[in-house]
């Protein structure tokens, strides 16, 4: 290596930096390990959801029966008027809002503003919980109308299987996220992150990088919903 190598604290950007990171015989990712691991977990989850969506594509393309029209299936009747996809639109806005509050929670966490971080985390959890509630409401409506994984009143039988699998798996992710966000909010409120208090399960010392990793997971859940909204509900 040349003697005028830039020092490690100011690594090069762009393609030379990429080559440097992989060839320098030291840690490749210049981020806390928790964040790198969260990204790898998200990558694996991307593949799971993508396989579900590709499977949905195969079922929908290969069936000879008409696919139920999502605009009508998911319409809500309010004051005698049928509004297509109303509940889904509201759920979409709720999840986007929760992503926004999560992003701000991460920002105020790094600014060591405990109160704002905790409040924003709790708002995020509340929005996430209401999303799951609406999901349950939607399931109840469809089950009441006779949708089952093996049949439904409107067309291709595969519709129910795909609907329950994909929205169920996503709803499970949201539920797990809400639980972890509440736990994180409690940690922030009692000062565990400022005081670097070890967690009771892993013994990791608390720091605000944990809020960012949790935020990555939450944004990923929102990201998956963007694709489900487009492919399943709008397509």
């Amino acid at each position: 290596m040349a003697s005028n190598e830039p020092n490690v604290s100011s690594p090069r950007q762009g393609a030379p930096g990429f080559i440097h990171d992989w060839s320098a015989e030291r840690r490749v990712f210049n981020v806390p390990w928790g964040k790198a691991m969260m990204w790898l977990f998200i990558l694996s989850d991307v593949f799971i959801f993508a396989c579900f969506l590709v499977g949905y594509m195969v079922l929908r393309m290969s069936t000879v029966e008409p696919w139920p029209d999502a605009s009508e299936v998911f319409a809500l009747t309010i004051a005698g008027q049928s509004i297509p996809l109303l509940l889904i639109a509201i759920m979409t806005f709720i999840l986007i809002s929760s992503s926004g509050t999560m992003a701000l929670a991460v920002k105020y966490g790094y600014a060591n503003d405990r109160r704002k971080t905790a409040v924003l985390l709790l708002i995020t959890a509340l929005l996430g919980a209401s999303f799951v509630g609406m999901q349950a409401f939607e399931w109840a409506i469809l089950i009441g109308e006779g949708v089952r994984p093996w049949e439904n009143p409107w067309g291709a039988a595969q519709f129910g299987a795909v609907f329950f699998l994909i929205t169920g798996f996503h709803g499970t992710h949201v539920t797990i996220g809400v639980i972890f966000i509440v736990i994180m909010a409690v940690k922030v409120m009692r000062g565990s992150l400022d005081g670097q208090r070890p967690g009771f399960l892993t013994g990791r010392k608390g720091n605000y990088g944990m809020v960012e990793s949790l935020g990555l997971y939450w944004h990923f859940v929102d990201l998956v919903w963007v694709f489900i909204f487009a492919f399943f509900y709008l397509w």
Binding site: V31, A103, F229, A230, L234
Partner: protein
């Protein structure tokens, strides 16, 4: 490593702008659905808005815009093979449909 070292902190208005755009793009894709546009324009617009939303979330909310290339490539390149999977499965699904129409119809 110091937790703050690797972290670039964008300003508040960056988040608010991204937030606003996510709302606007969601409204637009909803409008496409209820406007009655059909066929290729509908799918094209829905896909466009979807990719824009995904890009905004990954780049700004998930801070990808401020990460180094080694992390960006690790996360964004592997999912490209999923496009290949989707193409293969689309061909397979088409074959299944043709077979069903030819042999099972009526």
């Amino acid at each position: 490593m110091d937790q703050h070292n690797s972290h670039h902190q964008p300003e508040l208005r960056v988040y608010l702008k991204v937030w606003l755009w996510l709302f606007v793009l969601s409204v637009l894709s909803y409008l496409v659905d209820i406007s009655g546009i059909e066929g290729l324009p509908k799918w094209g617009l829905i896909t466009l808005f979807m990719l824009l939303k995904a890009g905004l979330i990954v780049a700004f909310f998930m801070h990808m815009a401020w990460e180094r290339l080694s992390l960006i490539y690790t996360v964004l390149v592997p999912p490209a093979v999923l496009l290949f999977l989707a193409v293969l499965m689309a061909m397979e699904a088409n074959y299944t449909l043709v077979s069903r129409l030819a042999n099972l119809a009526g």
